[in-house]
């Protein structure tokens, strides 16, 4: 999971066979969604999909901060 923030990015990894790591990633996902982040599941650079729930089977989740009018 790639989180776009003021550090450039931060990464959280999980293993589908490790329940604890999935739980940790899910908690991080929920915390970011509460802050207004949107999650994009990136199967390839061209085909991203916005998702609302944590998907442990996703290869990459990119967490995008909320935008506002400039």
């Amino acid at each position: 999971m790639i989180v776009l923030n003021n550090h450039g990015d931060e990464r959280t990894f999980w293993n589908t066979g490790d329940a604890a790591s999935i739980e940790h990633a899910m908690a991080e996902f929920d915390r970011l969604v509460r802050l207004g982040y949107r999650a994009a599941r990136m199967d390839s650079p061209e085909t991203g999909v916005m998702i609302g729930k944590f998907d442990p089977d996703a290869e990459t989740l990119t967490m995008v901060p909320r935008i506002h009018a400039g």
């Binding site: 790639i2 776009l4 923030n5 003021n6 550090h7 450039g8 990015d9 802050l35 207004g36 949107r38 994009a40 990136m42 390839s44 650079p45 061209e46 991203g48 999909v49 916005m50 990119t62 995008v64 901060p65 909320r66 935008i67 506002h68 009018a69 400039g70």
Partner: protein, 138 residues
């Protein structure tokens, strides 16, 4: 996505001073990893790239600026060859580097264009500014 280490060897001048862990370098690498081969080629050549909206299927050009940096450009029907542009401006809640700023706009356009258009501040339609970088055929 390119998987060779050489691809990420040098991405930003800040790397010479602060190393690979500098936010500007990390953001640049993240952006490049999220670009398709065509977008990456455009980006390396002109520092701009194009993204297709998933709602209207329009093509937007994203340029490296903090404001009014997403352009929708199309051919006009004027007798002389000219283009008409609409600029969109968004900011993000996080204080992100420029490369992340462009990546956020790309992801919004490609995955949630409807919300992007709802939120973004759109300027009036006008001529393409003369300093506009890169190619801009929509």
């Amino acid at each position: 996505m390119p998987d060779s280490a050489a691809f990420f060897y040098f991405t930003h001048p800040s790397q010479w001073v602060y190393g690979m862990n500098d936010p500007l370098v990390r953001a640049e690498n993240t952006l490049r990893a999220h670009l398709s081969p065509e977008q990456l080629a455009d980006y390396l050549r002109t520092r701009t790239f194009r993204a297709r909206g998933n709602f209207t299927k329009r093509v937007y050009t994203i340029v490296p600026r903090w404001s009014n940096n997403v352009y929708h450009i199309e051919h006009s029907y004027m007798p002389y060859e000219q283009h008409v542009a609409q600029a969109f401006c968004t900011g993000s809640d996080a204080n992100v580097p420029m490369a992340d700023h462009m990546l956020i706009q790309k992801l919004y356009i490609e995955t949630n264009e409807f919300e992007f258009l709802k939120i973004a501040c759109a300027s009036g339609r006008g001529l393409v500014p003369p300093h506009f970088p890169g190619e801009f055929h929509g």
